[in-house]
Subunit: 209 residues, 2 copies
């Protein structure tokens, strides 16, 4: 059955071409410039061909959102070797912010756009696995910090929401221009790191005298 196998491969290749074209479009021209026709132009197929590989535009965005989580996971490889959970939290926050600021369009589709969640809700197995596993890593680290007495005991879910909320808030306010008048762009990332720093040093029991 070498033939159907090759066909499968070809199908995957075109799928990849479509996604690559979408990425090129939204990185170079922004989210709203990802249109089926422009994608078709780039891959040199007719617009309707796109629909042979993806159910609709939302499904393309869902796939981009998955790719984004892959990229974020790669960046988080540097977390494994960090023993101290607070230091790890620190690095997690920095990674998250740096990722969001470096890849605003991926960030958008992962955490702001509604499209990927819509696709999920229409799927039979509709868990947001990527988001959940990322949040899980956060929860585990928080729990470990509590275990070791590095931070005060509290509702882990509420604490995780607070920390995730903060870094997400920083990135999304920044990428949606709500910090523009607050500070110069070149200083923005440093300030955001300072914010994370402030939070973690506030909860770090070992820093109290």
């Amino acid at each position: 059955m070498g033939i159907t196998e090759r066909k499968e491969k070809q199908k995957l290749e075109i799928k990849k071409m479509i996604l690559d074209a979408s990425i090129k479009l939204f990185v170079e021209e922004g989210f709203e410039n990802v249109t089926i026709r422009k994608i078709a132009d780039l891959i040199e197929y007719s617009p309707t061909t796109v629909y042979l590989y993806f159910k609709d535009k939302n499904e393309i965005f869902y796939n981009l959102h998955e790719l984004g989580f892959q990229k974020l996971a790669e960046r988080n490889q540097n977390l494994a070797e960090i023993a101290n959970p607070i230091t790890r939290l620190h690095k997690m926050g920095e990674n998250y912010i740096d990722f969001g600021m470096a890849n605003p369009e991926f960030y958008d589709v992962m955490f702001i756009q509604r499209a990927p969640m819509q696709v999920l809700s229409e799927m039979t197995e509709c868990d947001w696995t990527h988001g959940e596993s990322a949040l899980n890593a956060l929860k585990i680290t928080i729990e470990e910090a509590m275990e070791k007495g590095l931070i005060k005991r509290a509702n882990v879910v509420a604490v995780a929401m607070a920390i995730w909320g903060m870094v997400h808030g920083l990135v999304s306010l920044a990428t949606r221009d709500r910090f523009d008048k607050l500070t110069e762009i070149k200083d923005l990332k440093a300030l955001m790191h300072q914010s994370v720093n402030w939070l973690l040093s506030s909860i770090d029991l070992s820093l109290r005298k």
Copy 2:
């Protein structure tokens, strides 16, 4: 000149009709269902008439965003009488979250959508006055808390960004369905309040023994 005056009034009235129609649309049918033609239908004018009162759709959203800040300011009336800056911070956070969860579409246009900021950047006097004055209230309260030794001294801007970031992150992750699998909807607001609670009790020096 009673005549031009009356005309001015009429013009304002139609402007208000357009904005009211937009609000009705995005509250009842969501953001993406605010279209010029639907607005025109509601006010019983032709679609192009809308353009006699607003330059384009973005300008409508800019006005809605202003209205949103008015609504938020109303809710914040209850802050004036709170003497303790930490208690005030507390109430500010709760107000912000409750406002965002109760008016997700207004919240969207105030803090997530790009359209209003775009209009601003094209204006000659392009300060985001509403956002700035809201942030200022936050900064002043933080400064006061530091003055009185209630929280540790730190870079006020970084702290303000952290706190605003957190509440914004909570609301925007919630309204964009990123918390859906984390908890039941009915418990969500309580959890978010718990997050704020956790942060403020973490930085409150008076709670340390």
